[in-house]
């Protein structure tokens, strides 16, 4: 019964060459070793893995018999592994529709999955129907939003993002800060109310006001909210995104507002996508001073960070790139000091500890057909 587990895990890289593929392969290897079932898929695909001439994916990831993969039609065509199709979905990608396959003979394959949040969610639910296991969503470069459909992420970062160690640690801290925002106390009630637009909710959970849009984008949006009386301990819920402009406007208003307020976002990715993590950190400090509690309805915690000391160094004299490394130990320590989740160097340490950690996060799998009374 130990393997009646349910988890969807997102793997997010901060840049190319930060070791996301290495991390994925190491996690998969470890899960296989322990006999823990898993489904491997990705959010979007890596365009660099397409053959320049044929435009077809070049298979890169080694898979073993029994592995379950969800990938697009063209990746199935070019795979060197023997595959048995177990489910055809109508989830479309530029490389064809996604199918779920079981590996029969080992070989190489490329994963390409959906890239819209709603479709990631659909795939997640489809995979759940196959039985227990860990669904691994390998994230395409620069795409954060679809990670909201996972239960937690492992962040792959490293010198390829920037070889400046203090800067890298600081950036990682910002991401960690946002991903680990707490769930607001009334999260369940708010989730059940199912707001799809910005809403102001009174402490008794009655709706004071709802605006027509999901996001706060302009100063005017914010001014409108604060044009009305706001009761202490109210919730301001923002299901969409918030722009830098709106963040600043919010700050101005809140500094004059000296009552406790819950500022609730749908999930942390909504704050990560705007690329304004830095501004948001300033906001949350100021907000805390003003007695504002910032949280999310649905948490997407960062479970761990993996670091990779590799980067390509540009040489001015020859105008070429050459492989280079920052000090691996210093990098790992520096990042560890800034975040309160474990930091691993997968190449040196392997994935055993990381998988131990992931296992602690799994939920109990229940068949989607289960009916509660």
């Amino acid at each position: 019964m130990t393997h009646l587990i349910d988890l969807s895990l997102g793997l997010a890289g901060t840049a190319k060459n930060t070791g996301k593929t290495t991390t994925t392969a190491a996690i998969v290897g470890e899960l296989r070793l322990r006999g823990i079932p898993f489904y491997l898929t990705s959010i979007g695909y890596d365009g660099e893995n397409l053959d320049n001439i044929t435009g077809l994916p070049k298979p890169k990831l080694r898979v073993e018999p029994g592995d379950m993969i969800a990938t697009a039609e063209k990746c199935i065509l070019t795979s060197t592994a023997a595959l048995k199709r177990v489910l055809s979905t109508d989830i479309a990608t530029p490389l064809g529709k996604v199918s779920v396959v079981r590996v029969e003979r080992p070989g190489l394959i490329e994963t390409a999955g959906p890239n819209k949040s709603s479709e990631v969610k659909r795939l997640r639910n489809l995979l759940r129907e196959f039985g227990p296991g860990i669904a691994i969503f390998d994230g395409a470069l620069n795409r954060i939003a679809p990670m909201s459909e996972t239960d937690g992420i492992v962040l792959a970062t490293g010198a390829a993002k920037t070889p400046d160690i203090p800067r890298l640690s600081w950036e990682t801290r910002l991401i960690s800060h946002i991903t680990n925002l707490p769930v607001v106390p009334a999260a369940e009630i708010l989730r059940n109310k199912g707001f799809s637009t910005v809403a102001l909710i009174a402490p008794d959970m009655s709706t004071c006001a709802a605006w027509p849009r999901s996001s706060l984008l302009t100063e005017t949006d914010v001014d409108l909210i604060f044009s009305r009386e706001i009761m202490e301990n109210s919730y301001l819920y923002i299901p969409g995104i918030i722009s830098e402009q709106a963040v600043n406007a919010l700050l101005t208003h809140l500094q004059c507002y000296n009552k406790r307020l819950f500022l609730a976002f749908a999930d942390p990715t909504k704050l990560l996508v705007s690329g304004n993590a830095r501004i948001f950190e300033a906001l949350s400090l100021a907000l805390a001073e003003a007695g504002v509690f910032v949280g999310v309805l649905h948490s997407v915690p960062m479970l761990a960070v993996t670091v990779n000391p590799f980067y390509s160094e540009y040489r001015y004299e020859t105008q070429t790139y050459r492989p280079a490394f920052v000090d691996a130990v210093r990098l790992q320590l520096a990042v560890q000091r800034q975040v309160n989740v474990p930091v691993y160097n997968i190449v040196k340490q392997g994935a055993a500890k990381l998988v131990d950690l992931i296992i602690t996060r799994v939920g109990r799998w229940e068949s989607p057909a289960t009916v509660r009374f």
Binding site: Y45, G47, T93, L95, K116, R213, L217, I241, K270, V273
Partner: protein
């Protein structure tokens, strides 16, 4: 009807996006074009503000940081919940469809996307590209030719002739040569396009002009058959061009072959009508267009200026007229401006080069024997024209239309080869232009008694046996086989085109089905007629061939022998101008009359 929001992710507006907006409107959709330089959040705000929008089209022309920018945009759209209700497409110079797909856009449109493709995306239809409507590229007709001689005897004779022409011409000067120099040195086309005037060009230019341009510049008086356009007409043209360009696509005529490229001519007198005709020609598959100017233009020293329309055949060459036409051309269209026959020959080349033409036309033999220009003047001016053709990288065809007057092919070819040899020595890129014609020589000697194939094929065989040079039969093919009947006319053009394709020539010029009609200008349907006919001819032929009879080889031998004899006589004359006057390259009996325009204007002491 779809509601489409279009937004440039650039600091400036993308003309492509405007054209797409127009195309979508014409397909019956509602479009809103946002101003440039909005941030991603602002564009998303616009979508949230317009709940009816179902498609967003973004454009990005700048390549820098495009991956990060677009990934962030899609992420923001996803997180803001707009992806669920709005399809997002991205296009522009910086966009590779693969990148767009990888980043999660619903569609990516790279350079060369047709408006139809975007309309299909908006309407949710599958786009099926027409294989005949592919993107055309502008070819260099002279590519791959090295102008080496395969006939040693003719090569040696041409070398002698070129050397005495060069020796004679080097210190010669004419008002035409001087105007070309002024246009070359004093006229900055970029400044002129920015409406910053002509510098002090006309100060020096005026004394070198004949009465008509002089009066024009001094008093503003125009040629009696010309008038200026009104402001309203110009605004109308701009609207018409914007409308038409938005739905413009071009057919490819050659089926499975690459060559020959197909040219037709325009020159109704009115640049606006010409633009309409050019667009129709391009849409129906013409690869190139040839500018026809009025015959009086060739006998006038100097060009007029301004945006002028002309009531009779031939569109007046002025910088403004040429520039308007240039701006209306499709990117893939080869544009030829003829310089071959008159008193403005070298300046035409300079103007054509500066404004953006791809090809010109030069032949002092034809110009002086069949087009009315004094031989001495024509040789001097053509020499300078070739130097400018080299400078402005304009290959040019060497026409042999003196055949139409009655000059036999071998004499016309001797002249063409003399001009070409000189051109190659000067570093220019000539293209041989034999006629495919039912010429007087042919009629008198019954050379086409059985078929139209052998003599035309014989001409190409002869030239191929002499020199490795590009060949562009013209002009137009099937000359004098056309009647006023459009079916007959289209048919003969298609058959001659198929013969040209079969012979593997590089280009052809074709007539319209109005070729034989002389009661007025060519009509648009008449141009479409022959383009459609030629397309069908090429479709019919494919990689197949038309096999000439053995007679073609005999004709080729006869032409080659004739050429060599003519060259021998020219060498004996020792002087190209004398040879032209003597009729060695076409005599009075053969219908060639040395012209008089510009007589006595050549001076030996070149002004510095």
């Amino acid at each position: 009807m779809k509601n489409v929001l279009l937004a440039p992710l650039d600091p400036v507006h993308d003309i492509g996006l405007k054209m797409i907006a127009r195309g979508l409107e014409q397909a019956g959709h509602k479009t809103t074009l946002l101003p440039p330089d909005l941030g991603s959040e602002e564009i998303i705000e616009q979508i949230l503000n317009s709940p009816d929008v179902d498609t967003l089209l973004l454009s990005r022309t700048l390549g820098y940081g495009v991956g990060e920018l677009l990934a962030r945009f899609v992420d923001l759209a996803d997180a803001a919940g707009v992806r669920e209700k709005v399809k997002i497409g991205i296009g522009g110079m910086a966009i590779r469809p693969e990148l767009a797909a990888e980043l999660g856009f619903d569609a990516g449109f790279g350079p060369g996307t047709t408006i139809e493709e975007v309309v299909c995306f908006v309407e949710g239809r599958e786009y099926r590209p027409d294989p005949n409507r592919t993107n055309k590229n502008k070819p260099d007709l002279t590519e791959g030719y090295d102008y080496t001689y395969l006939h040693a005897g003719i090569a040696a004779k041409l070398e002698k002739i070129s050397s005495f022409i060069l020796d004679w011409v080097k210190d010669k000067w004419s008002p035409g040569v001087e105007r070309a120099r002024l246009r070359d040195e004093l006229w900055d086309v970029e400044r002129w396009r920015k409406r910053e005037g002509n510098g002090d060009l006309y100060q020096h230019y005026l004394p070198l002009c004949s009465e008509l341009p002089k009066k024009f510049y001094e008093t503003g008086e125009l040629h009696p058959k010309t008038r200026r356009f009104t402001r309203e007409e110009v605004a109308g043209l701009e609207r018409y061009l914007e409308d038409t360009k938005a739905r413009m696509s071009v057919l490819k005529l050659q089926h499975t072959r690459k060559k020959p490229y197909v040219f037709n001519q325009y020159g109704t007198g009115c640049p606006f009508m010409d633009i309409g005709h050019i667009l129709a020609s391009e849409a129906w598959g013409a690869d190139g267009v040839v500018h026809f100017d009025p015959s009086w233009g060739a006998r006038t020293e100097g060009f007029l200026d301004g945006f002028l329309t002309h009531q009779e055949d031939g569109t007046v060459i002025t910088p403004a007229n040429l520039n308007r036409i240039y701006l209306g051309l499709e990117k893939s269209t080869l544009w030829q401006i003829r310089a071959h026959r008159g008193l403005n020959t070298p300046e035409t080349v300079v103007l054509a080069g500066k404004i953006g033409a791809d090809l010109t036309k030069i032949n002092f033999c034809y110009g002086s024997l069949a087009a009315g220009t004094d031989p001495e003047r024509m040789v001097v001016d053509a020499y300078h024209a070739m130097l400018y053709a080299k400078k402005y990288k304009l290959p040019f065809d060497v026409v042999t239309n003196e055949e139409l007057a009655g000059v036999p092919a071998y004499k016309a070819f001797a002249g063409m080869l003399i001009v070409s040899d000189l051109a190659v020595r000067l570093g220019a890129r000539p293209i041989l232009q034999p006629l495919f014609a039912y010429s007087p020589e042919v009629m008198i000697n019954e050379l086409m008694e059985d078929n139209y194939i052998d003599f035309n094929a014989g001409k190409v065989y002869a030239l191929r046996g002499i020199i490795n040079a590009p060949i562009w039969p013209g002009a137009p093919i099937g000359f004098l086989t056309h009647t006023e009947d459009r079916v007959q006319s289209a048919m003969t053009t298609a058959l001659h085109a198929s013969l040209a394709a079969s012979l593997g020539v590089d280009a052809i010029s074709i007539a319209s089905t109005d070729e034989a009609y002389s009661g007025g200008p060519i009509s648009a349907p008449a141009k479409v007629d022959t383009l459609r006919a030629v397309q069908e001819g090429f479709r019919f032929l494919g990689q197949g061939t038309i096999t000439p009879t053995d007679t073609a080889v005999r004709y080729a031998e006869r032409i080659t022998d004739g050429i060599e004899k003519v060259l021998e006589e020219v060498i004996k004359a020792g002087d190209i101008v004398a040879a032209l006057h003597k009729g060695l390259l076409g005599s009075r009996e053969e219908g060639a009359y040395p012209g008089r325009a510009g007589k006595g204007t050549v001076e030996t002491q070149k002004e510095s």
